[in-house]
Symmetry: D2
């Protein structure tokens, strides 16, 4: 199996010209398209329709090329879009292609491999509780196994779209009467998904986990999780990125944790782990393919010991600010404005901080 | 003359507790207060009343201590507030005190000195034209002379509140009929003030300046100007910061130009010029007193060759984005969230970039 | 006792020129100033500093005239400001003066009287529970008694600033462990204050009230309550407006309930109850002094049976929308853009609707 | 020819379920679809992608049903979407179908007819000048002629998408040097389109029009124009709504002018002209089909003689406020939240006001 990745700047959410040209020129086969991940210029919130527009445009691009109805395309290809290109971020898409067939021949050098998995459908009362954590961890391990990694430490990014099954007011009332109120929302779904990643990858011991610590004990976190949650979704969709001796291509991945959204040193540390000299802009540029990070406005109201105002602003949301800040810091270190920062980071890295994963070329071209 | 500076975090725009304590404890004399410069948590725009609130609170603090009516306090002390603490910026105030009496004894080491000047009152038709440029340059040179600098290169920051005299619709119509439409607004006043700084300090030769290049030829710029303009103001108020052998104290200043709002290397270069190792966070922290910078969303719509969306967003203004980005980059390099970034930078540094001035302790404590 | 009211348009939150002129011209005595209620052009949210600016300006205006320190002025005069002049609202202040001395001579015609009261200090665990409801009801009745109304139906507006005492994280955790989590926030404080009004005025029978119905049973509401809550406030401040045979002046008050924020008929009904022909714009203009209303974006997500988007917008808050809508409807019926609409209306009128009180001249001038 | 209209509430910009059901149930034929006009829940500005999403969804709905490629659908059907459902507006679509074949038999009663026209392609230097005005007027008259109206007064709405051809910086510089700077933007294109409507329909005498009055003399206006302008569009697209004796169906149209965005009386006057008793909510509901209006925040900064703050707010644009206000007033009078208010109204009705057109059923069902 061979993985390749292409980054396209977009002129708007519906701009799929980059991917179209790639396919029309025959440089990649439609059937090999595994996932398209992108940032669109919406507000990233409830009334952000730019993600839907991007996905609709991709469905209509791919449907005839895959011989599917548009509404079936996402059964075959993962589309994962995050709204919010605050500040310097260039709206862009990254397309991943997987070619060749799986084989179990170890290669001399590990390369980035990608596997996809899905949980079973969740019931509303499971979200934000151990049932979600354990089933999600199971699905993550399934994907990890498929990749054939040498060690769990070779997993560097677990991108998830977290389930938030629909429920009726009656179900909610019943759960509350039963003393176990529903946690079926974005916050809880992200939190449980991140803890599930930590559990699956051995970052968090099973015995420290319980319904009570979810969304509460912020010392428990994963360093590779990246979850957004989507109302109406019944199953959590999982994409695991890991270094595998069974995968080919020119891509590698590395990750680390940023202590806060100003942590430029943390960004440089990830580059260094990947063997890139952060002070050599040309070297970084030659190797960087993609950057995935999670941001949050520190909920304690301070950063580096001083007050910030992101949580007291009724005109601009804290999610927009924290994306803007972290993306600026990433771009200033990496020299690239095509960075993927999504927001809200419950149990994703330490409080106020979050994971960073970099996909790089194995060697400078 | 001896200059000292104090930085106070504020809990809100009206919080003057830091300065009050300093004065009440007798650590500085009210009469020595020269200027208070600060960032407040407003939107930095037309309906930002946080600056007024901060200044009103300071007037009421100082009036009894100076034996003046509140409305007379600003005749004695410069208050300069910039709204907009987007992202990580901590609202704060920096108070400058000048003690001792002027003397002309050269000291062995230059120190930061500050001088204040004011232009004559402008007529509306002068704003944005050479009349404004030349009178402003004259006033700047007056302040520079007062400081007794060895060379114009010792001037590192010229903070200005640019005049925008009021005018009637009739005056505007008459000017238009005369073929010389008024330029009496913020954009033009800032632009002319910056060019005036460049002229006064020898950065821009007189023969390259004319009414036609103002607000048009962006290759002409000052590297030390920092101007905001204020409707209703008749005279441009000027504060010059320079290294002088006739001043005492523990403060020095250095400056440089940022190529764009992501230019972390440019920030490090200013530290280096000031003899500070940018990679040593403790050293930076020990010496940094204040950072002043100008940001702008590159009007060409790109940054580092790629599209940005700051100029196409109808929910959040580009001034808020550019401040957020540059402040994040500054804070990530300097390790301090008390940075003063104001926005719009016509002829302030190159297009898309802007000047940066750092005030530092002469030696680590 | 004689009540008079003056409305001043303001040029900004700190504009107190109207009140200053009134006092300086000797038309009213500073000592008689009872309350200043106003709308300022902020966002009405957590980072709205326009209210503070307005109150600071008023404190500095009144302090020398009352022979008090600025920080003592609010012990004598009620200042109640609401931020948010979305759409057509003209920022304005209404000053109420009370002159003469209390006497118990019945006059032939009732007139608007105003009384002020305050609850005892609340403990955090009382907020949002029956303890707050009952103590607030007691204080309201105290003010009502002082006014000497003939019947509770003569009370038409109870303006409250609801207490939200500060608490420590430990207090919060302890309350949660005790199975009685704190409700000490704006939502609960407003809700309990409104129910207290209903209880005090006989709108809601005591037996229907309990901790469980607060913030839940929206069929229980007051038609005259108007409460905003303020973090840090220990006592709820209460201003009662009622028709009293012991008060003199040229003002009357009437109220009603709006079924939703589009309820123009409801506005006309209040005018009609006050004897004003709503279709005669000149008559309305001649008599209207002030309008106080509460708005909310219907939490069910619909209005008049159709979807609205106010609750799904991450760029503009629903409070801003609902104020804009109701103020537009009020201004379109009343022909005056100086309307006081504040937002969030838990138990203030029916779900999605709210109370409206109009102060009018007793007779057209 | 017979016209019919259907209004669908939408659950989001891409929701075309209403139209799909109508077609799938065979109640109308796809080939008869003339136009879909709608409001979407975006910000109505430069980064509003909800219009594009709605149109993309409609293209994909109609393409197979019309036997066309998606990108050709708009050659056959007019899609006109306006972003911004501020406040109470319910996002919705109105689909117009035209059935039967044109004939010249006068019917006893006039009914609403619709005709479509297009200008020739404009050059950038023509926009905002008389060339645009005259060609647009010509195209409007062409559409009016096609409808066979008895008199120009039978035209009640001219909905236009105004051309803004692209141009190079060189073209712009050349025009400026030639003393005739380009006016090729939204403001000028809307202004010229509205004047063109006034010219075509005899509202404005030809001799009062010249390049100089466009965008300047606000006493010249149309009472039936409704233009939005679209960058990149070369030809202005025109839809004329008029009462015609050659059209059949159950629809009529009436119009009037609102003096300002609070003009509830103006709304009632249009109802009255259409024979509907505005005070009878059931009667209005039974007959109202659609409402089209133009709003603007009065550029003089006042409304009904008092200050408004819509033009000084850097957090929320004046277009959003004015739509919110006028939509609230319309909905409060009409009892329907499905109102189409678009914004900016240069030469559309008097300064601060604008046209209102109501489509109604000829008789209550």
């Amino acid at each position: 199996m061979r993985l390749s990745a292409y980054t396209f700047d977009t002129r708007g959410p519906a701009d799929v010209s980059g991917l179209r040209a790639l396919l029309d020129e025959g440089r990649e086969r439609p059937d090999d398209l595994l996932a398209v991940i992108g940032k669109t210029e919406g507000n990233g919130g409830r009334n952000d329709f730019t993600r839907e527009l991007a996905m609709q445009a991709l469905e209509h691009l791919m449907a005839p090329r895959l011989g599917l109805a548009p509404e079936r395309v996402q059964d075959r290809v993962i589309f994962s879009f995050s709204g919010g290109t605050e500040g310097v971020v260039t709206p862009h898409q990254i397309a991943f292609f997987r070619s060749g067939s799986p084989d179990r021949t170890r290669r001399p050098r590990k390369r980035l491999g990608v596997a996809i998995a899905s949980t079973r459908a969740f019931r509303p009362e499971e979200i934000g509780r151990m049932a979600q954590v354990e089933e999600t961890a199971r699905a993550i391990r399934e994907a990890v196994d498929e990749l054939g990694v040498d060690a769990l430490a070779d997993v560097h990014l677990v991108q998830m779209k977290g389930a938030i099954p629909s429920y009726t007011p009656e179900e909610s009332a019943r759960a509350e009467r039963a003393g176990c109120p529903l946690r079926c929302d974005m916050v809880w779904s992200r939190a449980a998904s991140a803890l599930a990643t930590g559990l699956a990858l051995g970052e968090i011991p099973r015995e420290r986990l319980s319904d009570d610590v979810i969304g509460r004990d912020w010392e428990l976190y994963s360093t590779v999780a990246s979850c957004s949650a989507k109302p109406g979704l019944e199953r959590t969709e999982i994409v695991v990125f890991a270094m595998s001796p069974y995968w080919d291509g020119d891509l590698v991945i590395e990750h680390g944790v940023l202590a806060d959204i100003l942590d430029a040193d943390g960004v440089r540390a990830v580059l260094r782990k990947a063997g890139v000299d952060a002070s050599d802009a040309a070297a970084v540029r030659a190797r960087l393919v993609a950057a995935f990070a999670k941001s949050e406005a520190d909920p304690r109201g301070t950063i580096r010991g001083r007050r910030h105002t992101m949580l007291q602003d009724d005109d601009i949301g804290d999610t927009r600010y924290s994306r803007c800040v972290l993306a600026a810091v990433l771009a200033s270190v990496l020299g690239d404005t095509r960075v993927y920062v999504s927001t809200r980071a419950e149990h994703h890295g330490p409080l106020g901080g979050g994971p960073l994963a970099l996909i790089l070329r194995a060697e400078a071209p």
